[in-house]
């Protein structure tokens, strides 16, 4: 087990290295003018040459890549290509916690909703409550979350004369105000996430519900609740875990939409702004951060498998 974890932990930086190389080459070979220069010329046509020199864009790509790579080890991810050319690391430090807070709340809400919905839907299969919950979950995966978010804003204003878009307040300053801000983006993201997980949960439960070991559990006279939670639920957790892990990886995708709608100054909004401005230093770093998070979450999920299902060994 430890052997396996260590091997995976070594693989992650290697994969990130390859990823960064691919990204760097991709950006470098983007058609037309060299992408970095293009971004700089949008930003500042007058001082173009001076800026090119400052960012070392006249050097061959591998020298630039080596320079960038060397910077990472001392925590320097480079400066923004667009004015005011501030350190990308500084912006990330300020913005990442906000996105992680929304993401964490999303995951909690999503788990709290999806598990009971999936279990009830499976146990009461083809009963009215199952139909109701299934309709709710299929709506959840169909309704675009930028639409639900927009509707919340419109009707909060029309009905309650209240605007959910507020200036950001840190949790440490005023927890209640902070929660009032993050709850809406988290809720719309959690609805679609939970709907997806609940559907997987339901079908995984159904598959186990009619298997032999469950029949044996019933035959030896266990109470229904014990059968459901000790025997069915646990076996059904594996596919659910996979899906939740994948969803953790897509937090940024959701964050871009939710932060755009509710004007939360987090990583999602940052990513969108930087992409539109073609600030590739920032885009490179944002991609690397979220790819790294994705890889660690995948590893965590793989480790969790062994706790949920002791038959799985690495």
């Amino acid at each position: 087990m430890w052997n396996y974890i260590i091997r995976r932990l070594i693989a992650i930086p290697l994969m990130l290295l390859v990823l960064s190389l691919v990204l760097f080459l991709l950006i470098w070979t983007l058609p037309g003018d060299a992408a970095f220069t293009a971004a700089l010329s949008i930003a500042d046509t007058v001082n173009l040459e001076k800026l090119q020199e400052r960012f070392g864009l006249d050097r061959p790509w591998y020298v630039q890549y080596g320079d960038w790579l060397g910077g990472i080890f001392v925590g320097d991810f480079g400066d923004s290509l667009t004015p005011p050319h501030d350190s990308v690391m500084g912006s990330v430090k300020e913005r990442l916690p906000k996105t992680l807070e929304v993401g964490l709340l999303t995951i909690i809400l999503s788990a709290v909703i999806s598990v009971p919905v999936g279990v009830i839907s499976a146990v009461r299969r083809n009963k009215p409550e199952d139909y109701l919950l299934r309709a709710g979950t299929i709506l959840g995966i169909s309704v675009p979350n930028f639409w639900t978010g927009t509707l919340i804003i419109i009707y909060a204003f029309v009905w309650f004369n209240w605007n959910p878009i507020q200036d950001w307040v840190e949790f440490t300053e005023d927890p209640l105000k902070n929660l009032a801000i993050v709850i809406f983006p988290a809720a719309i993201l959690a609805y679609s996430g939970a709907a997806y997980t609940a559907r997987i949960m339901r079908s995984a439960m159904l598959e186990v519900l009619y298997s032999d070991h469950v029949r044996t559990a019933r035959a030896k006279g266990l109470r229904e609740r014990v059968v459901i939670f000790r025997h069915v639920f646990r076996s059904a957790l594996i596919p659910v875990l996979t899906v939740v892990g994948l969803q953790l990886g897509t937090i940024l995708g959701g964050a871009i939409v939710a932060e755009q709608i509710f004007a939360i100054p987090g990583m999602g909004l940052f990513a969108l702004e930087r992409i539109v401005a073609r600030d590739y230093t920032a885009v490179l770093m944002i991609t690397m951060i979220f790819a790294a998070m994705f890889m660690f979450v995948t590893l965590l999920v793989d480790i969790l498998y062994t706790y949920v299902d002791p038959r799985i060994r690495y």
Partner: protein
Amino acid sequence: MTERSPAAPLPDLQDQGYAMPEQERFNPFRWALREPMGALGVVLIVLVVFGSFGAPILKTTNPRSLAAYSGDNLAGPSSEHFFGTDRDGKDVWSSVLYGGRISLKIGIATVIVGTIGGTMLALIAGFLGGVVDFVFSRIADILIAFPAILFALTLRTALGEDLPDLPGLPRAEFVVVLAISLIFLPAAFRIMRGTVLEQRAAQYVESATVVGASQLRIMLRHILPNITGLMIVLTSISLPAAILTESTLAFLLGAGDTPSWGAELSGDSRTFFVRAPWIAIFPGAALAVTVFAFNIFGDSLRDTLDPRLRGRI
């Protein structure tokens, strides 16, 4: 060369009183009764397709024409403008119907490139194994680790002006198709590769090899038909997701002058939503209904073709 002994004539089972099972023909009405949700999905899909491609005969004015600016700004829904008008006086009903075209077109183009392309690559990688498999799989690993929306956004803004116009697919749409299918391709590749590996170990492949079928023939004539069911299911399940992704991209970046459901909800028009909620409600609802229809249809299709897949895709 020895003469082959003539095969013993098969006893005619029907003569002996065995009833040969009638080839069960697909009966759409029976299917609709068994899968009411799937049937509802089909009905809605037909309506959506009819609405978007029949738009010119459905009391619309092309949103890209000058006539679209009716001068009646932010008017509520009425018999003249079913879904009201936006801030430019454009008829929202027309925008919604014309917007459907782009969503359907890009959605379909994306799943063709993404799932069918992914399947072909999976067929090659899974069947040949070895180095090819290793390289393809690692590329898929890397592509999957990219944050999907970020990747698509970057590609769209970076490549926007440098792609050629394809016939029937202007570069603005081509780049979106490319960006979204690159999200779906590695996922499709992973799922299909697993199935190809399963199939390759099957006995029919072994017997085909023994009778001397070429590798290409085994891939295309033997394995491919056996994984087509899964591919169809995967396609039908990816389609609504592709449509959602397209509209999310349009929502985040706007879509120029092309009418698109996602773009209607983005940008400056957001400041008018409280005064005129219909601008936001109808395009979003059209999108939700379309995705909902494809989702319930895809679900039924999966249950009909291969119920074992439930919970896997």
